[in-house]
Symmetry: C2
Subunit: 333 residues, 2 copies
């Protein structure tokens, strides 16, 4: 019985932070045993809105790999591979672009939102508009049937499956499986400032390599309930960043529920819940930071992980490309 | 002194006709000695508006190669290669899509015209909108500096050069040369029915494999000047399909000018100019048809030509891809 294939990955635009940990890295540790897992270092996708800064994309790729290994991704169980070094992904992307209309790409809600949030207007790079086809290539090249995505990314999987159905219909048989979007239990973690998106560039993230002082400072600066001025005042738990983080990281659910009730009633100070969160984050990040620092001293090993994973991914993705090309009745020399 | 590189090719959507001969094949015979010439069998580009019919694309590829060899393209001098088997072209295409905006692609006059003439509207396949970037990949992957194109295709070369300039600017040095569009002396030949576009599908073309009877019938059916009813009437030379073809194929220019003057004055019958044209076309096509029939009996040889050309093209295009990737500062494993 072969394990189902799960594909995820990250755009290589900077080191990962605890938002990535809560939302995806944690789940990937679980998938390592139950699934055949591929992690794609998406350097080509990173270029779709960073073409002006290839240096950042290049540097980040090693950072992200260090993050993977530091949290416990095991290269013996999970294949870490580099998108730009898998030509079949580009070849399938170019092929799939013929099976999707411009109008359909423009209707994609994820693309629409991102065009708006990045302020592209009509000057959107063509690569950005086309990335749903590239993502379909990534997913199908590995014949992944399980694709963990954020809630806002689910339309991209629907787009992938539309392309899959068109390819299969043209071939007259099932060349490619449809994929299922799996929305992780913990959604996107807000930044320490309460802003919806945690990101290194806005300085509201806690990196997986954060020092004890950085963690302490981040928790200290964290937003709580602005109306909760005195310890005895009743406080809001919803939208309170500290509780949102506790929800994501506190494994003692019973105590957490108890604290929430107390905070709501009044009589629980922000300093106490922050202390609790800080302890949890320090305990979570300390071993990651240490492993990461250790791994950073072994660049040859890290490169080998990428190299071996990419070699394995190459034979997998080349095989799929051959299936598709032959299945569609295209010429094979 | 290395020879300049010239790149042309054909979408593999059907066998070639004398319109291709007049407008491009003939020039390619000349380029064989003066230039390093690559001919691209553009099967991936053919798919941009034939994704529903991969069989046609596959069959046509051999037909087009037979046409090349039959007219005298010499594989020892010209490299015939297969687009779908050159992964670097897809990889560069995906990269270049990040260096061009959707708005810019939509403004491209060639794309605009073709969208209109094919009746795509908003349901244009994304691959079709993106093909200027793919064409830029084709041209630059060979570092071609000379690109013979029809007049209506010149904007595509301008688009290529814009991408080249952006790549070079991002790299901070000249990674890729700009290309020059060369408009062949003979423009697009009309169909035998006088319609602007000669194409097999509308039945107004003379194939390079046409039989003597087919040639005779096509010339017989050819439009002349509808006002030229009697031999002694003055006739129009401009827009007269027979004279347009004579302009393209009659090498005895002095006699042709003499005949034009006589036709304009009156006293030259359509049957005489048609006879002259038929003789010229029969003489032109006979050896091509014979060589083509001979080559069609040697499929292994034809495949070898494509295989060897593609292998040579692969190392050339891979080298360029490496130059671009390294030059931009992207990661190389």
């Amino acid at each position: 019985m072969t394990k189902p294939v799960v594909l995820t990955g990250d755009r290589t635009t900077g080191p990962l932070h605890i938002g990535h940990y809560a939302g995806s890295l944690r789940n990937r540790l679980r998938f390592q045993d139950s699934h055949e897992q591929f992690l794609l270092l998406a350097d080509m996708q990173a270029l779709t809105d960073n073409a002006h800064d290839p240096d950042k994309v290049r540097h980040s790729l090693i950072e992200v790999t260090l993050d993977y290994l530091a949290v416990g991704i095991d290269p013996a169980k999970t294949t870490i591979c580099l998108q730009s070094h898998l030509p079949a992904l580009a070849e399938l992307s170019m092929l799939y672009l013929n099976f999707v209309t411009v109008a359909r790409l423009e209707r994609n809600p994820t693309i629409k939102d991102e065009i708006r949030s990045r302020g592209f207007g009509r000057d959107i790079p063509a690569g950005f508009l086309c990335y749903p086809a590239a993502q379909a290539a990534d997913i199908t090249a590995f014949k992944a049937t399980v694709v963990p995505v954020g809630e806002d990314q689910a339309p991209l999987i629907e787009q992938t499956n539309e392309i899959v159905r068109r390819i299969n219909a043209t071939a007259g048989r099932t060349l490619l499986p449809e994929a299922q979007a799996v929305i992780p239990p913990v959604g996107r973690l807000p930044g320490v400032d309460g802003k919806a998106k945690m990101s290194k560039s806005t300085g509201n993230a806690i990196a997986l390599s954060a020092s004890p002082d950085e963690i302490a400072a981040a928790v200290k600066a964290m937003f709580t309930d602005p109306q909760h001025l005195r310890v005895e005042d009743p406080g809001q738990v919803e939208g309170n960043v500290v509780f949102t983080y506790l929800d994501a990281f506190d494994e003692d659910r019973a105590t957490l529920e108890h604290l929430k009730a107390q905070y709501r009633r009044g009589g629980l100070g922000d300093s106490k819940i922050k202390r609790r969160l800080e302890d949890i984050l320090q305990a979570l990040i300390a071993p990651i930071r240490e492993r990461r620092a250790q791994l950073a001293k072994e660049p040859a090993y890290v490169l080998d992980v990428i190299r071996n994973g990419t070699a394995k991914a190459r034979s997998r993705t080349e095989a799929t490309k051959r299936d598709v090309v032959e299945g569609l009745g295209l010429f094979v020399l």
